[in-house]
C-alpha cells in the first residue's frame, strides 16, 4: 500500500514537471501551487489527484463526438437523394413550389418529358412521344415511375445561375429544374415498339461496353399524358398488368435461353469434355418416369455439343443436365445472380431457380432446359448476355447519362461502371462460339447473312401444360467478333423464338448499324 502511494506521488511529480516544462516553453504564466487555507476552496488532496480521470472523461466524450460528426457528415454526403425521393418527405413539395420540374431528354437531345403551362397557367407534364416511353420514362403524378422516379431529385432541384434565380425571383416565376439526359435512343425505341406491335412482352437493347440502356419497351403500354384519367382503370386491371414494367419486373420461364447457363456449367466442370460429346436424339429423353420432349417433338438425330445448343435439343440438354454436379451448378447460378440482387437502379424482381442435391430427376431435367420452377426477368437475361459479349465482365446497366442545368452546363455526369466478372474470358469466348453457331446453323438462322454477324440464343418457353403455348425468346448480340449491342426480346404467347423473336432482333440490329 505504502509503495503504491509512493508511486502515485512520483507520478504526480513527473506530471507536474512535464506541465512545468510545457509552461516554460510557452512562456505562460504558471498557476499557483497549493491554495491551502483559502476560504471556501480548501484542498483535501493534491491538485493532480484525479487529473488522469478527468483527461479520460474528456477524451472519451471527444471520441464520441468525433463519431457523431463523422456519422452526420457521412449521412449528409450520401443520403440526400434517397431522403428527397422518399414520398413522405414534404420537401419535394417545397422544391416544386419554387422550381418547375426539369425535362427528360433522349441521348441525342429529343425531349421525352417536359413541364409546360396550359392557357390557365396550370402546369402539366407533357410526354411528346405518348406511350412510346411509358415504362422507362414513366410518370410523375400518380406516384412516380421510371426515370421520373430515378431522377426525381435532379428534376426538382435547380442549378441555374444565381443571376437567373434573381431574374426569376423579380419576375415572380419559378426556376427551371435541371434537365436529365438519358441513354435512350428514340429510333431504336421506335423500332422495338413497332416490332413488338400488339403482342405483350418486353424488349431491352443495351450497349455492351458501357451498360447504357438504349431502348426499353414493355407491352402493353399506356399514355403517360393521360395517366390521371386512366389511372383507376390501370390499377384495377389485374389481368394485363399494364403498369408492370415487364422488362425488369416480368418473371418468365427462360426456356431454351437457359441452355446458355447449362452449357456454361458443363464447360466449367470440364473444359475439354464438349469436344467428344455426342447424343442420339429421338425427340424425347426418358429417365424412369420422367420424360423430356424436344420442341414440337422434333427429332434431332445424332448431335454433338455445339449442334445440341444450336438446334436447341431439349433431350440432349436434359441428358447433359443429369450429368452435372448440382453443388457446382448452384454456385454458378449464384455467380450469375440468380436468386440474388441485381446491380440495377430501376425497380426489378429477382430471378429464381432451385438447384440442390435434393432436386428430383424430373426437376433436374426441367431445370436444365429452362423449364420447371425457374423464372427470370428479361433484364437479367440481358445482363448475362451482355457479360458474355463483354468478355465476361458485367457493366451495370444505367439509363441516366447526365444532368445539366437549363443553360446546358453539366451538373452531374454518370460514367459506365463495371459490376464485376460473371465468367472467365475463355468461358465467354466458348459461349460466344456456341451462340454464333445458333445463328449460323441453328434456330436463329433468320439473322444469317447480314452485313454484321450476330450471336444469340432462342427460346420457346412453355408456360402451361397445353402444348404449343410458349413465349418466344431471343437474347443475343452483334457483331459476334467485337460485340457492340445486346438485345433481349420476349414475346408472350407468340410461339417459337426462332420464328417470332429473331426477326425482331434482326430489325433492331439493322436499325442500330444503319444509325452508326
Amino acid at each position: 500500500m505504502a509503495r503504491r502511494e509512493q508511486e502515485r506521488m512520483g507520478e504526480k511529480r513527473t506530471g507536474e514537471k512535464r506541465a512545468e516544462q510545457k509552461r516554460m516553453e510557452q512562456q505562460k504564466k504558471a498557476v499557483g501551487a497549493g491554495p491551502k487555507g483559502v476560504k471556501g476552496l480548501s484542498t483535501s488532496r493534491g491538485r493532480y489527484g484525479n487529473r488522469r480521470e478527468i483527461f479520460l472523461t474528456t477524451g472519451v466524450f471527444l471520441a464520441l463526438f468525433l463519431a457523431v460528426i463523422v456519422y452526420l457528415g457521412h449521412f449528409v454526403a450520401t443520403s440526400e437523394q434517397e431522403m428527397m425521393n422518399n414520398s413522405y418527405n414534404p420537401r419535394q413539395q417545397i422544391l416544386l413550389s419554387r422550381n418547375y420540374r426539369g425535362r427528360i431528354l433522349s441521348r441525342d437531345g429529343e425531349v421525352l418529358a417536359e413541364t409546360v403551362q396550359d392557357a390557365s397557367q396550370k402546369e402539366y407534364r407533357n410526354y411528346p412521344y405518348g406511350s412510346l416511353f411509358s415504362h422507362v420514362v414513366g410518370y410523375s403524378t400518380q406516384g412516380r415511375m421510371g426515370v421520373e422516379a430515378l431522377a426525381n431529385y435532379y428534376l426538382i432541384n435547380t442549378n441555374t445561375s444565381l443571376s437567373n434565380k434573381v431574374a426569376n425571383d423579380m419576375a415572380g416565376v419559378k426556376n427551371p429544374g435541371d434537365d436529365v439526359y438519358t441513354t435512350l435512343d428514340v429510333q431504336i425505341q421506335k423500332v422495338a415498339d413497332e416490332q413488338l406491335s400488339l403482342y405483350r412482352g418486353a424488349i431491352i437493347v443495351t450497349e455492351v461496353s458501357t451498360g447504357k440502356i438504349l431502348a426499353l419497351v414493355s407491352h402493353p403500354d399506356f399514355d403517360p399524358n393521360r395517366i390521371e384519367e386512366i389511372w383507376d382503370g390501370l390499377v384495377e386491371d389485374k389481368e394485363s398488368s399494364v403498369l408492370l414494367n415487364r422488362a425488369t419486373q416480368g418473371l418468365y420461364p427462360p426456356g431454351s435461353t437457359f441452355k446458355i447457363v447449362t452449357a456454361l456449367e458443363y464447360y466449367r466442370e470440364d473444359p475439354a469434355a464438349y469436344q467428344s460429346y455426342s447424343f442420339q436424339c429421338g425427340g424425347h429423353y426418358t429417365v424412369g418416369d420422367s420424360r423430356i420432349n424436344c420442341y414440337h417433338g422434333a427429332s434431332h438425330g445424332s448431335v454433338n455439343f455445339t449442334s445440341s445448343f444450336a438446334k436447341s435439343c431439349n433431350s440432349s440438354f436434359a441428358n447433359i443436365g443429369m450429368g452435372l454436379d448440382r453443388n457446382a451448378f448452384a454456385e454458378t447460378l449464384k455467380g450469375l445472380l440468380f436468386n440474388e440482387e441485381l446491380p440495377l437502379t430501376l425497380p426489378y424482381l429477382r430471378s429464381s431457380v432451385a438447384m440442390s442435391e435434393s432436386l428430383s430427376t424430373d426437376e433436374m431435367m426441367q431445370t436444365s432446359i429452362g423449364q420447371g420452377k425457374t423464372q427470370i426477368t428479361p433484364m437479367h437475361l440481358n445482363m448475362i448476355t451482355c457479360a458474355i459479349a463483354n468478355h465476361g465482365t458485367l457493366m451495370k446497366p444505367y439509363v441516366i447519362d447526365s444532368v445539366k442545368n437549363d443553360e446546358g452546363d453539366i451538373v452531374k455526369s454518370f460514367q459506365p461502371e463495371a459490376y464485376g466478372r460473371l465468367m472467365s474470358e475463355e468461358e465467354a469466348a466458348f459461349l460466344t462460339e456456341l451462340m454464333t453457331a445458333v445463328v449460323e446453323q441453328g434456330t436463329a438462322s433468320k439473322l444469317r447473312g447480314q452485313s454484321y454477324t450476330a450471336a444469340g440464343k432462342t427460346g420457346s418457353a412453355e408456360y402451361n401444360n397445353v402444348k404449343g403455348d410458349s413465349h418466344a425468346w431471343f437474347t443475343g448480340f452483334a457483331p459476334a467478333q467485337d460485340p457492340e449491342v445486346c438485345v433481349t426480346i420476349i414475346v408472350e404467347g407468340a410461339g417459337s423464338g426462332g420464328d417470332y423473336a429473331v426477326p425482331i432482333a434482326k430489325r433492331i440490329f439493322d436499325t442500330y448499324f444503319s444509325e452508326k
Binding site: 498557476v31 499557483g32 476552496l41 483535501s44 466524450f61 452526420l72 444565381l162
Partner: protein, 464 residues
C-alpha cells in the same frame, strides 16, 4: 437584389460560424484569460455577424420588420450579459459566456422563425434566468446539506410523478399559474449538489452504496415517469462522479455494466423503450407511427445539405416537437450541416473548458460540481444530437440554450453561472496563493520567482 443577399448570406453565415468555432478552440493555446482577450474579441465580432445576417435574412425573406426589432432586443441582452458579467463578475470565463450567448442567439433565431410568440416568451425566460443565475452564481454552497439536497430532489420528482401532466406519454411537467415547469431539469442541479456533498470527503464502499441507493431512487422515479432521457443523464452523471471521486476504475466498469443491464431490462419491460429502439433501427418501415419523428428529422438534416436551405426555406414544422427535442435537425436544415457541426463543436469547446476548470480546482466538493455539470451538459448534447440523426435511439431531451423551453434554458444557465462563480473564486484563490512566494508549495526557488514575475506582468496588463 434580395435573392442575391439571401443566397450569399447563407455562405457568410457558415463562414463566420466556422471562424467563431475555430476561435473557441484556439483559446486553449493560452492558459490565462487575459491572454485570450483578442480571441474573445474575434468571437464577439463573429457572433454579431452571424446573428445580424440571420435576422436580416429573416426580415428580408418574410418582409416582416419585427425580426429586426427582435434582433435589437437580442443584442441588448447579449450586451447586457457580457457587460454585467465582465463588469460585476470581473474575471468570468469569457469562452463559456460567449458560447452561451452564441447558442442562445442561434436558438432565438430558430425559435422566432417558427413562432414569434414563443421567441418572445423564451426571451423573457432568458432574462429572468440571467438574473436568477447571476444570484445563484454568487452563493457559496453548503457542503453539509447532503440529505437535504437528496430529499428536495426526490420530493420534487415525486410531485411530478403523482400530479404531473401527461404529455406524449410521459409525466414530466406541471403547471402553476399558467407557467409550465419541468422539475426534472432543476433537480439536475440538486442531484449534482447531493453527489458532491455525499462524496467529497468520504468515498468508502458504504458511502458509495448509500449514494447509489439515493441516486437509484431518482433514476427509478424518472423511468416510471417515462422521462428516459433524464433518467439516462442522471445515471451516467452518477457513475462518472463516483468514478472521479473514488478514482476507482472498477466503479466505472460496474456502472457501465449495470447501466447496460438496466437498459436491456428496460427494453423488455417497457413498450415505449421498444418503440424508441424500433424507430432507431428502421424508421422507414414504421414511418407512419414510431419512426415518424426520426424520419422527418432525417429528411430535414439531409434536405439542408452542407450549407442549408436558407432560413425560412425549409419545413421544420414537419417534425413534431421540433423546437424542443429536434431543434438541431432544423438548424441543420436551414443553416446547413456545417453550421450544425459548428454548433456541436461550440458545445464541445464549452465542455473542454469546463473540464479544464475542473482540473484546476483543488476543492473536491467544487471540483465534483464543475465536473458533474460538464458531463451532464455534454451527455445531454450527445443524446439529443445523436438521437436526431439516428446515431443512437431518440430519448427526447433538449439541446441546452438552443431549444425552446424555460426549465431547460434556466437550468443550463444556472449551471453555467455556478461554474462562473466557482471559476472566479478559483482565480482569486490562485492569485492569492501566488502573491506571497513563501506560500507556494515546495517549488524550486527559480520557479517561484518566475511565478511572481509572470504574475506581475499579468497585473500590468490588467492595469493597461
Amino acid at each position: 437584389m434580395q435573392e442575391y443577399f439571401i443566397e450569399l448570406s447563407k455562405y457568410f453565415i457558415t463562414f463566420f460560424m466556422v471562424l467563431y468555432t475555430a476561435a473557441g478552440f484556439y483559446v486553449f493555446r493560452y492558459r490565462e484569460e487575459s491572454a485570450r482577450r483578442t480571441v474573445y474579441l474575434v468571437q464577439s465580432g463573429m457572433m454579431f455577424a452571424v446573428q445580424a445576417l440571420c435576422f436580416l435574412t429573416l426580415a428580408l425573406d418574410s418582409g416582416d420588420i419585427q425580426y429586426l426589432f427582435f434582433f435589437a432586443f437580442v443584442q441588448i441582452f447579449m450586451f447586457a450579459a457580457v457587460m454585467m458579467v465582465t463588469l460585476i463578475y470581473e474575471r468570468a470565463n469569457r469562452l463559456l459566456l460567449n458560447n452561451m450567448c452564441m447558442l442562445l442567439g442561434v436558438g432565438f433565431c430558430m425559435i422566432s422563425r417558427m413562432s414569434f410568440q414563443r421567441a418572445i416568451r423564451q426571451y423573457v425566460i432568458v432574462l429572468v434566468s440571467l438574473t436568477i443565475s447571476y444570484l445563484i452564481g454568487r452563493i457559496r454552497f453548503f457542503k453539509k446539506l447532503t440529505w437535504a439536497y437528496a430529499a428536495a430532489g426526490i420530493v420534487l420528482l415525486s410531485i411530478v410523478l403523482i400530479l404531473g401532466e401527461v404529455s406524449r406519454g410521459s409525466k414530466i411537467s406541471f403547471t402553476v399559474g399558467g407557467v409550465t415547469f419541468q422539475p426534472s431539469e432543476f433537480v439536475k442541479i440538486l442531484f449534482l449538489f447531493f453527489l458532491a456533498a455525499a462524496l467529497w470527503e468520504d468515498v468508502s464502499l458504504g458511502r458509495i452504496a448509500l449514494t447509489a441507493l439515493i441516486a437509484g431512487i431518482h433514476v427509478v422515479i424518472l423511468v416510471v415517469s417515462k422521462d428516459l432521457g433524464s433518467a439516462l443523464i442522471f445515471f451516467s452523471c452518477f457513475v462518472l462522479v463516483v468514478f472521479i471521486a473514488s478514482r476507482n476504475y472498477l466503479y466505472l466498469l460496474g456502472g457501465l455494466c449495470g447501466g447496460s443491464a438496466a437498459a436491456v431490462a428496460a427494453y423488455f419491460l417497457f413498450s415505449h423503450v421498444q418503440n424508441r429502439v424500433l424507430a432507431w433501427r428502421d424508421p422507414w418501415t414504421y414511418i407512419d407511427k414510431q419512426g415518424y419523428q426520426i424520419a422527418h428529422s432525417l429528411f430535414a438534416v439531409s434536405g439542408g445539405g452542407w450549407f442549408g436551405m436558407g432560413l425560412l426555406r425549409g419545413d421544420p414544422s414537419a417534425i413534431p416537437l421540433v423546437e424542443a427535442d429536434f431543434i438541431f435537425s432544423s438548424v441543420c436544415e436551414e443553416l446547413g450541416v456545417i453550421f450544425g457541426i459548428c454548433v456541436i463543436l461550440v458545445c464541445v469547446s464549452s465542455f473542454v473548458m469546463i473540464m479544464e476548470i475542473a482540473l484546476r480546482i483543488h476543492d473536491r466538493f467544487y471540483q465534483m460540481i464543475v465536473y458533474g455539470i460538464g458531463v451532464m451538459y455534454i451527455f445531454q448534447i450527445f443524446l439529443t444530437v445523436g438521437g436526431g440523426i439516428k446515431f443512437i435511439p431518440m430519448t427526447g431531451v433538449t439541446l441546452p440554450f438552443v431549444s425552446y423551453g424555460g426549465s431547460s434554458c434556466m437550468t443550463s444557465m444556472i449551471m453555467f453561472f455556478i461554474i462562473q462563480g466557482i471559476y472566479i473564486r478559483l482565480q482569486q484563490a490562485e492569485g492569492r496563493a501566488q502573491r506571497p512566494p513563501s506560500r507556494a508549495r515546495k517549488d524550486p526557488p527559480s520557479g517561484a520567482k518566475r511565478t511572481v514575475k509572470t504574475n506581475a506582468r499579468e497585473d500590468r496588463r490588467e492595469n493597461g
